[in-house]
Amino acid sequence: MDDQEIERVETRLREILREQGLGWLVSDVDELVVEGVYEVAAKRKGGGETRETVERPSDARRGVSAVRPYTPSERVRLLLSSVQLAVEDAQRLEAAVVHMLVEPQPAEPGPVLLELFDEREERTVAYVARDGQERAPQSRRSSEIVGSLTALADNLGVGDTDAR
């Protein structure tokens, strides 16, 4: 896929994320893009140097640190993988929070209610356990989003969306 289409899709995806309240995620990705790709310039035995991306702290000791800009493919892959991971993390975090903090414990008055209260916006998110039953998170079609993001990455030729 050519860079023009990649950049067009990236621009549209950024708009969608901002519209849907995920502008902070776009800002996070932008911060990484501004930092650039961390590399080291390592000298080769026969002369000259090689540029290698730093993946682990030990890589940094192989040469002199350098930075290069993200390519359009790398930028859009970064954005797609960040959205995918945010969606997957949200589901797992919610399930873990309900399990750890809503499940009633011995010597506690029941029922158990967990509220996350935003006093600035006066917004409450609540999870309730009644009769010792955990409130399981509803199926929220997150797998469908992930599927669409993966298909988009494949279409653009920037697949393998593992950001870690």
Partner: protein, 230 residues
Amino acid sequence: MSSLPSNDDLLRAVRDLLGAGALPDAAPTDQGYDLYEVFLFGLVVRAARKVFGTSSVWYETPGLGVTGLRRLRTSPGSIHMSQAHGYSHAVFAVGPGRFLEAHLGIYVAGSSNVPHEADIAVIEQSEAVRARADGVAPRSNQLQLAIEAKYYPGNLPISVGREYLGLYGDLGAKQRMLVSSRSAPRVMTLLSARLPTGAFRPFVLPGSGSDEADELEAWIATIFRTYRDR
């Protein structure tokens, strides 16, 4: 033969799914990302249950006492304002006459006397009571544990490492650590060179196939055990 969806089809699908409540209500709609801090708070409470016993852990709301309600902040606040908003904290009975309190998102006074938000703060109850009564922030050098929580779906920006070095230097808590959902080579290189072992805990997420969350909980349990046995 059906055609593959176009990029525009896929973008429309993503937009429609995000707009149709495909994420949890407490999902990442702002940078604070409440759920991640609550998850770490849950790890602290679970570690306390393992060390002090299940019946030695309960929740209180100032002015109301023991409660089944866990009402937690999603933005930083003052410990002495908890009663006004009905916020709860966890209480750990360590031994006869010895109690700890675990709070989410309260201001604590750094060594410089500058207030800092402690995403998770575990304080001796006597210091918490004093702070509430006097209408001030608890002193950070009276914290047994202070956790700075950072959720990022992708790599951490270097600013996270730089900012935490500043915070670490001003917090006097007995044990203080940065816990994050991910990492990055720059941040790991910087913090491993500047902080003691265990002060930076990356990749802590539930069910991600890694052991970091369990190891963090075990480390917190060790901190509690050391406090209990001294």
